[in-house]
C-alpha cells in the first residue's frame, strides 16, 4: 500500500528517496500502473514520481558517445530531429511502439527498467551497444545492456538505483542499424518476435555485426550465432540464408497465446532475411 508520494525535482532528492527504501519509481506510469492494478506487481510504501527530475531528457552527443536521458519519452524518440539523424533505428522502433497515448507518457528508462522480453526499444538498443547508467546515493555505475537483463521484468538494478542515462557509441561511417517487429497492426501490438541488426557496411561487406532478438527468450538477447555467420561477409544470397538459418537455430522461444515456438523460429528466420535484404539494398 502506498503511504507516501514524492515528486522530486532534482536527482539528489530522487536518489535520497530511493535510499530510504521500499520505494517504487514511476515516470510515465504506463507499466507500473496497469501491472500494479492487475496485481502482478506490488507497489512500495513510497511512490517516487521522477517525472520532474531535471536533466534526464533528450539526446546529445558527448565525446564519442550519444547520451539519451532516461526520461526521454517514446514520442520524443520518434520525433526528435537529433535522434532521427543520428540513431534512426530508435525512431523506427518508437514508430511501432504501443499507442500514441502510451508513447507520450512512456519513457526510455521505463522501457528498460520494465525489462519485458518484448520491449520495443530494447532490441535496437542492444544492437547499438548501449550502456545503462545507474545512479544511487552511493554513486554511479555503468552496465552493458546485454548484461543488464536477468529475466522477465528483472534486471541488475538494485532497489536504490535509478536508471539515469543510456549511452551508445556515436555511429561510425558506414554504420547501419535496422529493426523489424512482427505484428498484424502498424502499432498497438505486442510483438510475437522482433529483430534488430547493426553493423558497418563497406564495399558490400558487413563488420562489427550486432544481432538481437525480442520475445524469444526470458530477456531480449544478442544473436551471437547470426553475428558470427555475418561478420566480415559479403551480403549475398548465401550469407543471408546462412545468417537466417543461424538465427533460427539459436533462438529458443516458448509457445504462448501469441505464437507457438515453431512459428517464432520461422519468423526469426524470415525477419532476419528480410532485414538483411534491406541492409544489402541500402
Amino acid at each position: 500500500m502506498v503511504e507516501r508520494y514524492l515528486a522530486p525535482t532534482t536527482l539528489d532528492e530522487a536518489l535520497k528517496a530511493l535510499a530510504a527504501g521500499d520505494a517504487t519509481i514511476v515516470a510515465g506510469g504506463t507499466d507500473v500502473m496497469p501491472q500494479s492494478q492487475a496485481g502482478r506487481f506490488k507497489l512500495g510504501r513510497t511512490l517516487v514520481n521522477i517525472r520532474r527530475v531535471a536533466g534526464l531528457q533528450g539526446g546529445a552527443k558527448e565525446g564519442d558517445e550519444i547520451r539519451l536521458g532516461a526520461l526521454t519519452t517514446i514520442s520524443q524518440l520518434r520525433e526528435d530531429a537529433f535522434i532521427a539523424k543520428t540513431l534512426p533505428v530508435l525512431a523506427e522502433a518508437a514508430d511501432h511502439f504501443a499507442s500514441v497515448q502510451i508513447r507520450n507518457m512512456g519513457t526510455l528508462g521505463g522501457n528498460i527498467g520494465n525489462a519485458s522480453p518484448a520491449g520495443d526499444t530494447l532490441v535496437p538498443l542492444l544492437v547499438l551497444d548501449a550502456v545503462v547508467e545507474l545512479r544511487s546515493a552511493k554513486g554511479m555505475r555503468r552496465l552493458r545492456l546485454d548484461e543488464f537483463f536477468t529475466g522477465p521484468g528483472k534486471t541488475k538494478r538494485t532497489p536504490d538505483e535509478l536508471i539515469t542515462n543510456i549511452f551508445v557509441p556515436a555511429p561510425k561511417p558506414g554504420f547501419v542499424a535496422r529493426f523489424a517487429k512482427f505484428g498484424t497492426r502498424p502499432a498497438l501490438d505486442i510483438s510475437a518476435v522482433s529483430v534488430g541488426i547493426a553493423g558497418i557496411v563497406k564495399d558490400g561487406k558487413i563488420s562489427n555485426v550486432r544481432v538481437a532478438y525480442g520475445a524469444v527468450a526470458p530477456t531480449p538477447v544478442r544473436g551471437r550465432a547470426a553475428e558470427a555467420a555475418l561478420e566480415g561477409k559479403t551480403l549475398d544470397a548465401a550469407t543471408l540464408a546462412a545468417a537466417a538459418k543461424a538465427a533460427q537455430g539459436e533462438v529458443k522461444p516458448i509457445s504462448d497465446r501469441r505464437a507457438t515456438a515453431w512459428y517464432r523460429r520461422e519468423m526469426i528466420h524470415n525477419l532476419v532475411k528480410k532485414v538483411l535484404a534491406d541492409v544489402a539494398h541500402g
Binding site: 498484424t184 502498424p186 498497438l188 505486442i190 507457438t260 520461422e266 519468423m267 524470415n270
Partner: protein, 770 residues
C-alpha cells in the same frame, strides 16, 4: 400568396440524433447513474472449469463492515435462466464453466465488495473436463447438465427435396469440413444494471442495457417469481449491443436479489475482464458441408451437418440454426437440401446471440463451396452465383417468398465496381510467380431477414405519437436505440408523413412504463417494423389534422397537405395555416381534442411450422461483398486492402446512418476473419483483455466502396429493408476466397491469423510444421 416548398429527408445524410452528446463524451450511460443509497454489487466467479461445490463459507465476508448482503445459491429460488432454463443465477451444486457465478456481495463501496469476495471460502471437488464438443456425445463423456444426460442441448433438422436424388443428378460434388472459432462482441460499454425496489410498494425498477426490454420483463418475472406488472425497465443509453443483450444473464437477477436482501439499490457493472469472461461469444461451429452441381453450374443439392459448442448453459443464441438453414436452403435455388445441427454441452464458455445470428458461420461454408464448385467446373465465381441466384417472385423450398430481390444487381454491381473478373484471373496467374506478396480477390454473397423475423408469436412493434400545442412531435416507440441509429430513422419517417423538420421530433424509447410493446432489437428489424409502426401512427395523426383543417377551410382533407410545419393546399403548396395554430384550435376549443395516436404494426410474415417451413420475414436483404487482400507469404499476414460492397437495402433512408452500419459491419467481419480470437483452452479463456484479443484498429480499416441497390420493397417503410446484420456476414467467406485466389490454398478454419495462414501455406508446399 405564400408557397411552402416540398422537402424530404429521405435518402439524405443526417447525423444521428444522439451523436453530439456521444461525440462530446456527455452521454450518461448506466456507469454514470448513481441512485441515493446505492450499494455496489460484485460477483464471485469460480476459477474451476468443472467441479462439484462441496461447501461455500461466507461468514467472514458477512462480518466485514460495509457489507450489506452476501448471497449464495442457498439464499435464492432455484430457477434457471435461458431457453433451456439450465442456468441458475448462482450455482449451488456444481460449476460448469470458468465464468460461473457462485456468490455475490453488496457493499458500501467497490473496494469493500472486492475485499468481501476474497473472504469467501469455497471447497471444490474437481470433475473431469469436457473441453472438446466432438467428445460431448461420445460414450462415457462427463455429463454437464443432469437434465440432458446425452449432452445435447438442442437439435435442428430441416429438409426439402431428396439429397440422394440430387447427388445422382450431380456432375461434380465437393465436401469439406469448416471450423469457426470463438469471438465476442467487445461492446465499448460493459454490461451493467441497477436494481431498485420502491421501499413500500415493492415495485422494481431496473436500469438495464437490455436490447429486449419487454421480453426481459417477462423473463425477469419468471425467474424472480414476481408479477411482471410490478417490474419497470428503464434503458440508459446502451454502449453497444450486437446481440449480446438479447439474453437475460445471471448478473441481472443477482443484482435484484442483492437489492432485495440489502433493502438498498444495487449497481452491478462488469470490469472489462469480466466482460470478456462472462458475456457470451459467437458460437464456435464445426460444419461438414457436401454440395453438388451440374456441368452448367446449376446447383443440385446441399447436405449440412453442424456441431455447435453450446458451452455449459443454453442461451437463446443456441437457436441460430434457425437462421443458418435459411442460407443453406434459400440463398441460391437448391432443389434438394438436408440440414442437421446439434448444439452440445461442454465445459467451455457459453455462446449467445451475435450480429448475424449464425449466418456468418453458414455463409462462410456456402460461399466457399460456391467457389470450389466453380473451380471444379471451370466457371468463374460470378457466373456460378448468377446462374443460381434468387430473383423477385421466387418461393424457396423452405417457403420463403422473395417479393423484392436485388441479389443479381448486388452481384453485378460489386463485380463491375471492383473489376472482379480481370483481377481474379490476373491474381490466379500470378500465384506461382516469385515474390512474397500475393494479391487476391474474393467474392461472397448473402441473404438475411430484412423485414423482421417472426420467431416469437408476434413480431410487432407499437408506437404512441403525441403532438404538443407548438407542432412538436414525441414518438414513443417500443424499439430500443442501441447505437444503430433507430431514433433518427424513426424521426425521419414521421417527418416525411407530417411535413416537419427533424428538430420538431423527439423520440422516447427507453421506459417500459411509457412505451408500447416491441419484441426487441434483433433480426435487423427495427427500421422495418418500428418504422412501419411509426408511419402508421403518423398517418393517423395526419388524418386527424387534415380533417380538422378541412373543417376550417372550404377544402376537403385530400386537397390539403402538411409541409414545413404548415397545412398547405396540396395542388400548389399555398399556405393555409401554421400547424401550431391548428393544433391549438383543436385543443383549446369546444372540441377539446389532442392529436395523439397509437399504432401497432405486425408484419405479414408467418411463424414457421415445426419443419421450419414458412415465410419468416416480410422481406429479405441481399448483398455481395468483394475483398481484395495481400498475403505476405513470409509471415502469413493477410492485409485487407479494399472492400467493394453492394447491398440491397430496399431504399436508403438515412444515407449517413446506413454507411455507418455497413462500414461498422465490414470491420466487424474483418475482425472475425483476421484478428479476433477468444482463445479457449481446456475451458479457460487465455486472453480476456484488449491486449491479446485483437480488435481491428483504425489503421487496418480498408478502403471501402459501398453501393446501395434500391429495390423499393413494397411493404418496407418508404421501401426500406433492415440491414443491421447484413454487412458482417460475407466478410470471412470473401476473405477466404481471396486468400485462395492469391495463394491457391483453401483455408477452412478461422481465424486467418498470421500463424494459421503461415502454417497452411507451409503445409500446402509440402513443408513440415510443428
Amino acid at each position: 400568396m405564400t408557397v411552402v416548398a416540398k422537402s424530404s429527408l429521405i435518402g439524405k445524410r443526417i447525423p444521428k440524433m444522439d451523436a453530439p452528446e456521444k461525440a462530446a463524451g456527455k452521454t450518461r450511460y448506466v456507469q454514470d447513474i448513481n441512485l441515493p443509497g446505492q450499494l455496489i454489487g460484485k460477483i464471485l466467479r469460480t476459477d474451476r472449469v468443472h467441479a462439484r461445490i462441496v461447501s461455500i463459507d461466507t461468514a467472514a465476508a458477512k462480518a466485514l463492515p460495509g457489507v450489506y448482503a452476501v448471497l449464495t445459491a442457498a439464499d435464492i429460488p432455484k430457477r434457471g435462466l435461458g431457453v433451456n432454463k439450465d442456468n441458475p443465477p448462482l450455482k449451488g451444486d456444481k460449476v460448469r464453466t470458468i465464468r460461473d457465478e457462485i456468490a455475490a456481495v453488496a457493499a458500501e463501496t467497490e473496494e469493500i465488495a472486492l475485499e468481501a469476495l476474497k473472504l469467501i471460502k469455497v471447497v471444490y471437488e474437481d470433475l473431469p473436463i469436457l473441453a472438446d464438443p466432438r467428445q460431448s456425445t461420445q460414450p462415457g463423456a462427463p455429463v454437464i447438465q443432469d437434465a440432458k444426460p446425452d449432452n445435447i442441448a438442442m437439435t435442428f433438422d430441416y429438409a426439402h427435396g431428396d439429397v440422394a436424388q440430387g447427388e445422382k443428378e450431380s456432375d461434380v460434388v465437393v465436401e469439406s469440413e469448416f471450423y469457426l472459432h470463438y469471438v465476442t462482441h467487445c461492446c465499448m460499454g460493459v454490461s451493467g444494471i441497477i436494481a431498485d425496489f420502491e421501499p413500500t410498494s415493492g415495485n422494481l425498477t431496473l436500469y438495464s442495457n437490455t436490447q429486449v426490454p419487454f421480453l426481459h420483463k417477462r423473463e425477469f418475472s419468471e425467474v424472480l417469481g414476481m408479477d411482471p406488472g410490478r417490474i419497470r425497465i428503464i434503458q440508459p443509453p446502451i454502449g453497444g449491443g450486437f446481440g449480446s443483450k438479447l439474453d437475460i444473464y445471471p448478473f441481472e437477477p443477482i443484482a435484484v436479489y442483492l437489492a432485495k436482501a440489502a433493502r438498498r439499490p444495487v449497481k452491478l457493472v462488469f470490469t472489462r475482464e469480466e466482460e470478456f469472461l462472462a458475456s457470451p461469444t459467437r458460437q464456435p461451429a464445426l460444419c461438414r458441408l457436401r454440395s453438388g452441381a451440374k456441368k452448367d453450374g446449376t446447383l443440385t443439392f446441399r447436405a449440412v451437418d453442424i456441431l455447435l459448442d453450446n458451452g455449459g448453459y443454453t442461451s437463446w443464441g443456441a437457436t441460430i440454426p434457425f437462421v443458418m438453414m435459411q442460407t443453406f436452403s434459400s440463398l441460391y435455388r437448391v432443389p434438394h437440401c438436408l440440414f442437421h445441427t446439434k448444439a452440445v454441452y461442454s465445459n467451455n464458455p457459453y455462446a449467445g446471440s451475435f450480429r448475424g445470428y449464425g449466418n456468418l458461420q453458414a455463409t462462410f461454408t456456402v460461399e466457399q463451396h460456391m467457389d470450389m464448385l466453380a473451380e471444379k467446373l471451370g466457371l468463374d465465381p460470378l457466373a456460378i452465383r448468377m446462374k443460381n441466384a434468387q430473383e423477385s417472385g421466387e418461393v424457396t423450398g423452405q417457403g420463403m417468398v422473395f417479393t423484392s430481390c436485388g441479389f443479381k444487381e448486388c452481384l453485378t454491381t460489386a463485380a463491375s465496381r471492383s473489376d472482379f473478373a480481370r483481377k481474379f484471373t490476373d491474381y490466379a496467374q500470378q500465384q506461382s510467380k516469385p515474390g512474397n506478396k500475393k494479391r487476391g480477390i474474393g467474392l461472397a454473397a448473402m441473404i438475411h431477414v430484412g423485414g423482421g423475423a417472426k420467431i416469437y408469436p408476434s413480431d410487432g412493434c407499437g408506437t404512441i405519437l403525441k403532438m404538443d400545442d407548438f407542432g412538436h412531435v414525441t414518438i414513443m416507440t417500443g424499439a430500443s436505440e442501441i447505437g444503430q441509429g433507430s431514433e433518427t430513422v424513426l424521426a425521419q419517417l414521421v417527418c416525411e408523413e407530417l411535413g416537419l423538420p427533424l428538430d420538431a421530433v423527439s423520440v422516447v424509447n427507453n421506459d417500459t412504463e411509457v412505451t408500447p410493446w416491441d419484441v426487441g432489437v434483433h433480426a435487423s428489424r427495427t427500421t422495418f417494423i418500428a418504422g412501419n409502426s411509426a408511419i402508421g401512427a403518423a398517418r393517423k395523426a395526419k388524418d386527424k389534422i387534415l380533417n380538422a383543417a378541412a373543417k376550417v377551410t372550404n377544402m376537403t382533407a385530400d386537397q390539403l397537405e402538411m409541409r414545413g410545419g404548415f397545412v398547405v393546399r396540396a395542388a400548389d403548396g399555398e399556405m393555409v395555416m401554421p400547424l401550431p395554430k391548428l393544433l391549438r384550435s383543436l385543443h383549446f376549443s369546444d372540441k377539446a381534442e389532442l392529436v395523439m395516436t397509437t399504432h401497432y404494426y405486425e408484419p405479414s410474415s408467418v411463424h414457421q411450422d415445426k419443419k421450419f417451413m414458412g415465410n419468416v420475414s416480410a422481406t429479405y436483404a441481399w448483398a455481395a461483398q468483394i475483398c481484395e487482400i495481400e498475403v505476405d507469404t513470409d509471415t502469413g499476414i493477410v492485409t485487407l486492402e479494399k472492400v467493394t460492397a453492394a447491398h440491397d437495402v430496399g431504399r436508403v433512408l438515412n444515407r449517413m446512418g446506413l454507411e455507418g452500419q455497413i462500414e461498422g459491419g465490414i470491420v466487424m467481419g474483418q475482425g472475425y476473419a483476421l484478428t479476433e480470437d477468444l482463445m479457449v483452452r481446456q475451458g479457460k479463456v487465455l486472453n480476456p483483455g484488449f491486449r491479446d484479443y485483437k480488435l481491428v484498429t483504425a489503421p487496418e480499416i480498408p478502403e471501402m466502396d459501398i453501393s446501395f441497390i434500391e429495390s423499393m420493397d413494397g411493404e418496407g417503410p418508404q421501401g426500406a429493408k433492415g440491414v443491421g446484420e447484413a454487412p458482417a456476414i460475407c466478410m470471412a467467406a470473401a476473405i477466404a476466397n481471396a486468400i485462395h485466389n492469391a495463394t491457391g490454398v483453401r483455408l477452412t478454419r478461422l481465424p486467418f491469423s498470421p500463424e494459421n495462414v503461415y502454417r497452411a501455406l507451409v503445409t500446402a508446399k509440402g513443408g513440415v510444421v510443428e
